[in-house]
Subunit: 365 residues, 2 copies
């Protein structure tokens, strides 16, 4: 099975358009995955998520393993049947969430001990169990269990975690049991070019069907992130998909695409949407702002989503002020539509050869 096929390249950058085949359909890349942490993109039906152009979603292994539990999801038919999303799904490994627990975490060579944020129970994840849980959940793409290296890590810390992540990736590969799931390796290395390159090369020797760049969107500057991508992507095989985890704003995605990244996920469109913060073709619109109180304008005049076709800014503001669920719903729906339209434009610009021109015209800040 050729899982990934490149269909267009930008001659002025490393950007490319591809088609990633999964058992639940094809994903056109560069692609953005809305985050459905608990097997639901917050506030939206699968039908709504698809209607705005979404081809693949992400779910969080950590949250699902805690509640309702991987066995429960498997008994209920696996993630696709469970969530009603019948398109491609990617699960993270749980590592990122576990390491986010901070003081509640103890890491050793074998794995990670932590306490559940739900009920305080003592739990443990390691490469084998994280892989087993993802096998049970049944996503199309699953991720190796790694030790995330924050941007502020010292070289010694970064090196130790990176080496451990390489050893853990090997264990994940051995533990992986399902041929219908693509297991991606994750490149760590913090902000150190040689660690990133070394990690990429070590993972490539293991021959994963795809590779992620991890440990970003964690406090690094825009320039630092760009350097990491420049120091990492060239050492990943051209014919395999590359996934930049947790990034980011539309403009961040555009720049990462130019470095050869194919897949993205981020909570921004939904989390910001729930807080009335919307991405539009005329800039950020904060719907709670009193400027919109009597506005009959759509949220985004250039957008054809359900929200922008049917509702005024004045109504959307009213929903937020009245604490009505429909406000977060409609704002999230629009924000995802905005991201998906952005990705479509990126794919078109790659095919047209206009990506760099466009990128250079967009303010990075």
């Amino acid at each position: 099975m050729i899982a990934f096929e490149i269909v267009a390249r930008d001659v002025r950058s490393a950007a490319r358009c591809g088609r990633l085949s999964t058992p639940h359909g094809v994903v056109e890349t560069p692609a953005f995955m809305p985050v459905g942490t608990a097997a639901t993109v917050k506030g939206l039906t699968p039908e709504q998520v698809r209607a705005v152009g979404t081809q693949v979603i992400l779910a969080n292994t950590y949250h699902l393993a805690l509640r309702p539990g991987a066995e429960a999801v498997a008994e209920l038919g696996g993630l696709h049947v469970f969530s009603g999303w019948d398109g491609p799904i990617l699960t993270d490994s749980g590592g990122f969430q576990v390491f986010s627990l901070g003081e509640l975490v103890r890491v050793d060579e074998d794995g990670v001990s932590f306490r559940s944020h739900v009920d305080g129970a003592r739990l443990r994840l390691d490469p084998e169990s994280a892989t087993r849980v993802q096998n049970l959940l049944g996503a199309d793409i699953i991720m190796a269990f790694d030790q995330c290296v924050p941007a502020a890590a010292s070289r010694d810390e970064a090196e130790a975690a990176t080496q451990r992540s390489i050893r853990w990736a090997q264990r994940c590969k051995q533990a992986h049991r399902r041929e219908d799931q693509l297991l991606f390796g994750i490149v760590q290395g913090g902000l150190f070019a040689d660690l990133r390159r070394g990690c990429a090369e070590a993972l490539c020797e293991m021959d994963f069907p795809g590779y992620a760049v991890g440990g970003l969107a964690l406090g690094e500057s825009i320039e630092q992130r760009d350097e990491v991508l420049r120091d990492t992507a060239p050492y990943l095989p051209d014919e395999r998909p590359r996934y930049l985890m947790g990034v980011g704003r539309p403009v961040d995605i555009l720049h990462a695409v130019s470095r050869g990244i194919d897949l993205f996920d981020c909570v921004l469109p939904t989390r910001n949407g729930r807080n009335s913060h919307c991405f539009t073709s005329v800039g950020v619109v904060r719907l709670r702002n009193s400027a919109h109180a009597r506005s009959r304008e759509p949220l985004d005049p250039a957008c054809a989503c359900y929200t922008c076709r049917h509702f005024s800014r004045g109504y959307l503001r009213h929903l937020f002020l009245a604490d009505e669920m429909l406000g977060p719903i409609l704002a999230s729906l629009h924000n995802i539509a905005y991201y998906q339209a952005w990705m479509k434009r990126i794919r078109a610009a790659i095919s047209d050869g206009t990506l760099i021109e466009w990128m250079n015209s967009v303010d990075r800040i």
Copy 2:
């Protein structure tokens, strides 16, 4: 304009099927109106509300007058444009909500003074202002401003409020300014048959295009409610629609239909849905119940709504336990679908002549 046309009658009861014409479309009666308090049926898009068979919705004048204000709604195009619901809308007069404020209310012959539940501001509603506000909101059907009589009221209290409501109905009629809105009178009278009859007759002399029965769903017994309907409906003109305000459970609606009621509204399907309490063909299902944890069954095997077609009880329970918005959304959607299917079955049973047989087979408790 003939606003209401009777198309079928049940020979064994007072039930009838009708077609109520409004500027925003025809409503087949008996009809159920989901409640969209703040110009939104909580958690659902207008598209979803319509997809489950809803023909008309209700919005609350009190809430909209406070936030965003009637002038704002008017400036934003009126309720239909504002809310994105382009079908028929009914607004209540605000009286019921105001009297629900209890200690915060002072009533005199001219109107009612109260404090806003939003910001504590001193406000006043009277027949003229309640009508003006509803003219501004722009619903297809608007309601007279009345003094609601609770079931526990003494005869003196009930009589005074009923007589005042009659005087106020006359003032509403005089204040009403829009020919494209049908103004309904509201029959009060508490549990006193002669007061109900007297009120009905007084309102009929004013010749409203429709009549509501108010002051029920306020603590009376099932038998008391049935008696009030029996003592009221016959004194309302056969050729005008009759609306029982705030009632109720599906079985309550069925019984009221047999007494000649055409229109209903109630918060139960949405409020209960948000609390995981669902109406189904196999009885009430409480989705938080652990019995559903591993259930792959749909919420209601006899239902064809989006929720029942796509999701298992196990998934719906997970959404509620994980405090995910999609749980209340999908449960509300199903409950409204259940109510609308119930109304459709009522209309069919009237046409078939099987209503009483069905009604007698359904447990009232």
